[in-house]
């Protein structure tokens, strides 16, 4: 009984029981199949592999909670990666290149938000357009070839360590904590939930819905840009086809994490776990030597089961 009381009080835990269950069950299965799954090294590896997805998922979570969609994230990441690479190889200092790169995400996020709110367009279509726009621009930078010979110091972001932790894990952790607090405890977060619940009601309550939606889109663009920078640093090269799976993977992670596609509900913890789950599936299957075609099929099944488990619980 006490446990139930505890769970009731800690709503965020009980909400995600299904997801936690699936993650634990999968971990047990993978460990039984291959004991190297449950080693400190591999667990850290999983967290590192999921860092980029989690960072992007943070932006997507805010946008989706407020009732919108952002499909341009992959395009933004790709364009940022290419632009930053081009700038650095053209002699612009690393830090300035990074700032300008992040600005790309801010600008595209602003455009997404502006078109969506100002002209009352469906954000799915708007961001589909900006996705293509960003991908097109990314290829135009070099005419479709990769950029090599990036400065060595730049590799720190995607490959370096802070203490014993990979730098990207540290970045990710900081962003997640900030987002968690912002969503749960500040106006920006509460308004996102309210706007997703009903933007009409929220507007009438004296809240400038347009301004807040703009903010969520900009933040999402910023997250995508940062992800693009990390990926580029990790690869030590600017790739014109960077982050081609990012959009679908991230949206899947966020939805798995319990954020409603129609808006109004969702949590940071859920999105983080959604991303972890996706990574665990691919990591575990790889360790066990399952080929990538079977991986796709198996992960599809696991996803369907998880979604059904979620739905049952929500009833």
């Amino acid at each position: 009984m006490k446990n139930i009381e505890f769970l009731k009080k800690h709503n965020s835990i009980s909400r995600h029981l299904g997801l936690i269950g699936v993650i634990l069950a999968l971990s047990i299965v993978f460990t039984i199949l291959d004991s190297s799954f449950l080693t400190g090294m591999n667990l850290l590896n999983i967290v590192r592999q999921s860092s980029v997805m989690i960072i992007v998922a943070m932006g997507v979570t805010f946008v989706m909670i407020s009732g919108e969609l952002d499909l341009s994230i992959g395009g933004v990441a790709c364009l940022t990666g290419m632009a930053v690479s081009k700038m650095m190889t053209s002699g612009i200092p690393i830090s300035l290149s990074i700032v300008l790169g992040l600005l790309i995400g801010v600008v595209i996020g602003f455009v997404n938000g502006f078109l969506t709110t100002k002209f009352k367009l469906p954000s799915m279509i708007v961001t589909l357009a900006t996705m293509n726009l960003a991908n097109g621009c990314a290829s135009l930078i070099t005419g479709g070839t990769a950029i090599y010979n990036l400065p060595e110091k730049f590799e720190f972001i995607g490959r370096g360590y802070i203490g014993f932790l990979p730098a990207q894990v540290v970045f990710m952790t900081i962003i997640v904590i900030i987002c968690g607090i912002v969503l749960a405890k500040t106006l920006i977060g509460r308004y996102a939930l309210a706007i997703g619940g009903s933007d009409k009601v929220t507007e009438l309550a004296g809240i400038t819905v347009v301004r807040y939606k703009l903010l969520y889109f900009i933040f999402c663009g910023l997250c995508a840009s940062f992800a693009g920078i990390i990926l580029t640093s990790k690869l030590a090269s600017g790739q014109p086809n960077l982050a081609s799976n990012m959009m679908m993977d991230t949206l899947t992670a966020v939805v798995l994490g319990g954020t409603a596609m129609s808006g109004g509900s969702g949590t940071i913890a859920g999105s983080v776990m959604g991303a972890l789950l996706l990574t665990i599936i691919s990591n575990g299957l790889t360790i066990n030597g399952v080929n990538s075609f079977w991986q796709m099929i198996i992960s599809a099944f696991i996803l369907i089961v998880t979604i059904i488990a979620r739905r049952e619980k929500d009833k």
Binding site: K185, R190, Y191, A194, S198, V201, T202, L204, G206
Partner: protein, 508 residues
Amino acid sequence: MNEIIALNKIAKSFGNVKVISNISFSIEEGKVYALVGENGAGKSTICNIISGSLQPTEGSLIYQGKEYDYFTIQQAKEIGIKMVHQELQILPLMNVEENIFLGEESSRHGFADKNAMRSRTKELLDMVGLDVSPTTKVKNIEIAGRQLIEIAKAVNKNAKIVILDEPTSSLSNNEIEKLFTIVKKLKKQGVSFIFISHRLEEVFELSDEIIVFKDGAKVAQMNSKDTNEKEVIRLMVGREYSDFCQRERKHFGQVYFEIQNVSGEREGLLNNSYLPQKVSLKLEEGEVLGIAGLVGAGRTELIKIIFGALPKGSGKILIDGQEVIIKNSRDAIKHGMAWITEDRKQEGLILPDSITQNIALPTLRKHRNKLFIDDKALKELSKEYIEKLHIKTTGGDQQACNLSGGNQQKVVLGKWLSTNPKILILDEPTRGIDVGAKAEIYKLINELTEHGMAIILISSELPEVMGISDRMLIMYEGKVTGCISREQYSEELIMQYATGRKVDDEKY
């Protein structure tokens, strides 16, 4: 008289909560049964059981001498039970004909029989008196018309029992008359009706039998001719009518709010409502100003302009003698205004959110410790209003969608009262809520004005505006046609202004 179906000791629980218990009555051919009772008394539940969308937990249904534990939706359809829901279930992007025949398309040799459906649709539209083409998209038809289409759909094929759940709440008087004529005509052909309404006049005009529900039980079934409104209300709530709609102004203050020559962006109609033209009004502290008029006269549009939700073409708004500029609802709230909107489900509440979340929304930015939201303060806030307004709930965490209409309206009231408004605008504040909650809202209006609040009340129910306002402004096609004080109130005079038959030229 032939019995069509009978209910035998029906009970229904949701979880541990028993919503109705021990309900028995039978439905005979060609009769109109009115179900009356407060919100949450179980009227809709019983209708859903009859129409097969809910299964009773106890009791049985009897049809042609056979006992059924429940009807499936299919069975109910075969028997001829048709339900017109309160929230219309009509597909806006399909046309009239497609909606009427949805799920029961006529066919010949496996192909849709367009000609048969077309001519039948025309016949039905003729019968309900709706002048549109069968191929008109429903989204281009106003709400009242959609209601008539739903009714046409219900009586299209093999209708024996038609359930009308609050069919008149979105209709004008004219359309209500039309609806009643249809009901009376079909009744002669042997169709029975179950009619739910909060408007007792209608109940008495239309029904043969009145069944009174209270707290999930049937407390009385009477022949309409043998009873009267007073008795029905007493049975429903245990109070007399005149007890709860009283007004005595106690606070007489200065003019606090004034608008001068306010017009909409242009002349003419906007979504079937006239935009206001050169409307002026004054409102004193402690006063209730009623705004009466037919549906579409531009009352709500006037409020929208005042509140910054529609653009203002010309004119001035003054608060406490100072001209103010209101561009959006944020400005309006800053100037001490609060607006209880007409449509509480779309514009008043975030239905899946909790009571606390809903109440706290407009004042969220005030309840902060520096950057962070003070959830404890929010909980206290919602507790305060739950107690003050007697919201019946399991607690502040309950979702708004699980509350009855009256309690939902109280949450909306709580939300706006928490902003400490000086001017409260009530747009149809008692639509679709029961007599008990109505009484509480009237009492609240009296209390609030006693402390100096100025209130604008819009209502389509004439007895309500007449009962609770001190002065009344009457609008017709976007213009103010008259303004009368309480001593002058008479239904006849108000209707003359409201229909444009009498127009005063003075400025108010």
